[in-house]
């Protein structure tokens, strides 16, 4: 019964979304305030209905109602509760429902918190949001109904792909989707502004917090996915330039660019056309990501069900929304007045450089991701574009960006002084130089470019601190005075510093682990010893064990360093009961120097016996995810800034919300 209510709520949500997309839009055209105000209750009602549908499906999963086909295919009664819940979005239908839920959540948030938006703009934004919701709800109802019943009901489910039964992956999709879908708000604002033909600095101020929120979620979501791939796939790597990873990375790059160009637009009323275009492109890339992932057109290490009908439907959504928005953009572009002149060397100029490099990098990733598709369509040749391509194109584009990054915040608006900025950065340059020498001294045998790469990361980290110090006039004013300035600084300023610092940490982690990773593949019998990166591992043997819904072969390694016992690693190989599938659980010892990482392979069925074992030492690899977390926290700090607070009433308004005209 609950399942039918869920299905009904979903269909009802579709009709509400239709109303939400049509009436406020019409109202804004006809200047009818009553019609415009329909958007707000419609958005809230839509959230309630979609949430109801989602909870109904979640309930079916929690009680293991196998008469629902989706539950039967993707769940199992012996699964722990967490994975029964995460199983809701661990499959195509459920994840689309999650997508729509987050869409409704953002729509309702605009409706409720956007009290200071002009009425017509708000109506149009909600109408665009409604239209996106219509498209995806239609997609679910027509091609991917999660509430499909099975008769007769099977006694037991097939189970969730065991590789997805993992805490990081349980929360990875919600964060990723919050990022993807969050950019729909920026998109809706862009389209609404184009419909009105008016884009000003206030527009950027409204869009920024939403973009920032989406960007934060996406950052965390991608980092979680990368962390999961690191410890679960057992390859010792953290990023594979896989099409599915690229699909999430491209909106992130475009979104990062959008975040920065919106600053220029808000502060200086410049880069309007570009910012609006970027808002459209960012969400377009999110949609394209959904298409690439859901249609299965690309070969990927991530396995997804392939269903051509669904791919075509999403392609249709893609064409309508991107095509429509770009056509509108082309029609209205000329009406957007350019304002705010600036010299090439200025804060604006530096943000333009940031945007150029980020979007170009995004374009190279796009080319690498889509090239195999295009070539196969044209010539029939099947190719793959692997990490070397991305390292050769993406890397060189990031290089100037990272070199230039510390300069940006030190330049003044309109006309900056590069020499003065460079003078302030001498300390950061000195620290980076020391880092280069130190890394050469420690790791003289590694690739000769690597110390420079690490120095680049240190440069960015030190540069962000120098910027903070120069803002609070540390060294010029007295310490209490500097402290007062530090406390008085807007949170968004701290957020910028922190996010840039996180970028630097990440660069250090990436370079260190790519350049200095040690790897050993060998066969070990119980009692054998193996050395890696100064550690000595003794293989004690492997023994079978029984988990809640799997059997596993657990290996035991005693780890020593310099004759002292450090830890023991217990990598395992699991065989799940349903579906019968094996997964690798790496044994990882994390320390400040890096991760010692052990994978237990197959038992050798020959005379010598033993187990295949893979050992890695990944120096400073944690910096990658800690850096991403610091970036997230920087975003969080910015988004809570009073000046950007989403619901903050404008000072000019005396009474926030008078009784609506009835």
């Amino acid at each position: 019964m609950i399942v039918e209510i869920g299905h009904f709520a979903l269909v009802l949500a579709l009709t509400v979304a239709l109303i939400q997309s049509a009436l406020p839009f019409w109202g804004a055209r006809a200047r009818d305030e009553r019609l415009m105000d329909v958007g707000q209750p419609a958005a809230v009602a839509q959230l309630a209905l979609v949430a109801g549908a989602f909870l109904a499906l979640a309930h079916a999963y929690v009680v293991s109602d196998f008469s629902v086909e989706n539950v039967y295919l993707n769940s199992h009664s012996a699964k722990p509760l967490l994975y029964r819940i995460s199983g809701v979005w661990g499959n195509h239908e459920g994840s689309m429902l999650l997508w729509v839920l987050i869409l409704a959540l953002f729509g309702a948030a605009v409706a409720v918190f956007g009290t200071n938006l002009p009425r017509a703009l708000k109506a149009n934004v909600l109408a665009v949001q409604g239209a996106i919701a219509v498209a995806f709800l239609l997609f679910i109802v027509l091609t991917s109904n999660p509430f499909q019943r099975l008769a007769p009901a099977p006694a037991e489910g097939l189970g969730l792909n065991p590789i997805l039964q993992d805490p990081a992956l349980a929360f990875h999709p919600p964060f990723l989707y919050a990022g993807y879908v969050g950019f729909s708000i920026a998109f809706a604002f862009a389209v609404a502004a184009l419909i009105e033909g008016r884009v000003d600095a206030a527009w950027a101020r409204w869009v920024r917090p939403w973009t920032l929120a989406a960007w934060m979620m996406l950052t965390l979501g991608i980092a979680m996915g990368s962390w999961w791939a690191y410890y679960e796939l057992g390859w010792g790597g953290w990023w594979f330039w896989d099409p599915v990873e690229n699909a999430s990375f491209m909106p992130w790059l475009a979104g990062t660019a959008l975040l920065h160009s919106a600053v220029v637009m808000e502060k200086r009323d410049a880069l309007k056309v570009w910012t609006v275009l970027l808002a459209i492109l960012t969400f377009s890339l999110s949609l394209m990501g959904a298409f690439l992932v859901r249609s299965g057109v690309l070969s990927s290490v991530h396995a997804f069900a392939v269903d051509p009908a669904r791919g075509v439907f999403i392609l249709g959504i893609l064409v309508v929304f991107i095509g429509g928005a770009l056509a509108l953009f082309a029609a209205r572009m000329g009406e957007l007045r350019q304002g705010g002149l600036f010299a090439p060397i200025s804060r604006e100029g530096s943000l333009v450089v940031n945007n150029l490099l980020l979007t170009t990098a995004c374009a190279t990733v796009l080319v690498g991701t889509l090239y195999p598709l295009g070539l196969e369509a044209l010539t029939g040749d099947k190719i793959s574009v692997g990490p070397p391509y991305f390292n050769m194109t993406f890397g060189p584009l990031m290089l100037p960006l990272l070199v230039a990054l510390p300069f940006g915040p030190l330049l003044a608006w309109k006309r900056g002084d590069l020499a003065a900025a460079a003078q302030r950065l001498w300390l950061a340059a000195a620290v980076a130089l020391v880092a280069t020498v130190a890394v050469y001294a420690i790791a003289y045998r590694g690739p000769w470019l690597a110390p420079l790469g690490i120095a680049l990361g240190v440069w960015v980290m030190a540069g962000s601190l120098v910027e903070l110090a120069s803002r609070i006039k540390l060294g010029q004013a007295s310490l209490p005075d500097a402290w007062r300035r530090l406390k008085g600084m807007p949170r968004a300023g701290h957020g910028t510093t922190m996010a840039h610092f996180g970028v630097g940490m990440m660069v250090v982690g990436i370079v260190a682990t790519s350049a200095y990773q040690s790897e050993r593949i060998l066969v070990m019998n119980p009692g054998d010893r193996a050395g890696i990166a100064g550690f000595t591992l003794t293989f004690k043997g492997a023994a079978p064990q029984r988990g809640p819904n799997y059997r596993e072969e657990v290996g035991l390694f005693e780890v020593e360093r310099g004759g002292r016992a450090v830890t023991s690693l217990v990598p395992s190989k699991r065989l799940y009961d349903a579906p019968r599938q094996t997964t690798t659980e790496a044994g990882i010892h994390a320390s400040w120097r890096g991760d010692l990482y052990a994978v237990l392979g197959d038992e050798q069925v020959n005379a010598a016996g033993g187990y295949a074992v893979r050992l890695y030492f990944n120096p400073l690899v944690r910096m990658i995810w800690i850096g991403a977390l610091v970036m997230f926290l920087g975003g969080l700090l910015s988004v809570t800034d009073r000046r950007l607070r989403i619901g903050a009433p404008r000072r000019t308004r005396v009474r926030p919300s008078p009784v609506p005209a009835e």
Partner: protein
């Protein structure tokens, strides 16, 4: 600087960057793309030893042999032709005889494929699209059109 000059600087920067990145892309695409072939393709097209490519097909039944240390040898087949593959390393979890597999590496002079990567696939019902398509074209494998969902 006048508005016109500023715009010229910006446009020049854009064009320069675009040109540079196009060069990078073309250069990288020429050097680092990897073609995908089935064992029959390899026989027909006469691929030279030492050229890097991806070899895909099914792991031939009864072909997996363990060598010294972590070395392993197996046959990749599309049931018309079979190529022996050697690989030194830990095989992915889902590597099994009769299952689809994609390996990357190069042929040696004796026609043996030296793989440095054996691609892991998450799901036992999942067939890499290239393999599925190539096998279907050759009429070897029909496959199931509706597969269970795996996120």
């Amino acid at each position: 600087m006048t508005r016109k000059q500023r715009r010229a600087v910006l446009i020049l920067a854009c064009v320069g960057l675009l040109g540079l990145s196009s060069l990078l892309v073309l250069f990288a695409l020429r050097d680092s793309i990897v073609f995908f072939h089935t064992p029959s393709d390899v026989a027909e097209k006469g691929i030279a030893a030492g050229q890097r490519f991806r070899l895909g097909g099914l792991v031939a039944e009864g072909s997996v042999r363990r060598g010294e240390g972590a070395a392993v040898e197996f046959g990749v087949t599309d049931s018309l032709k079979t190529i022996r593959v050697t690989y030194n390393g830990v095989l992915p979890d889902l590597f099994r005889e009769g299952q689809g597999v994609v390996t990357e590496g190069r042929l040696d002079s004796a026609g043996k494929f030296l793989a440095d990567t054996v691609l892991a696939k998450h799901d036992e019902t999942y067939m890499p699209p290239e393999v599925a398509k190539a096998l279907k074209e050759r009429g070897v494998w029909q496959g199931s059109e509706s597969k269970p969902n795996t996120n």
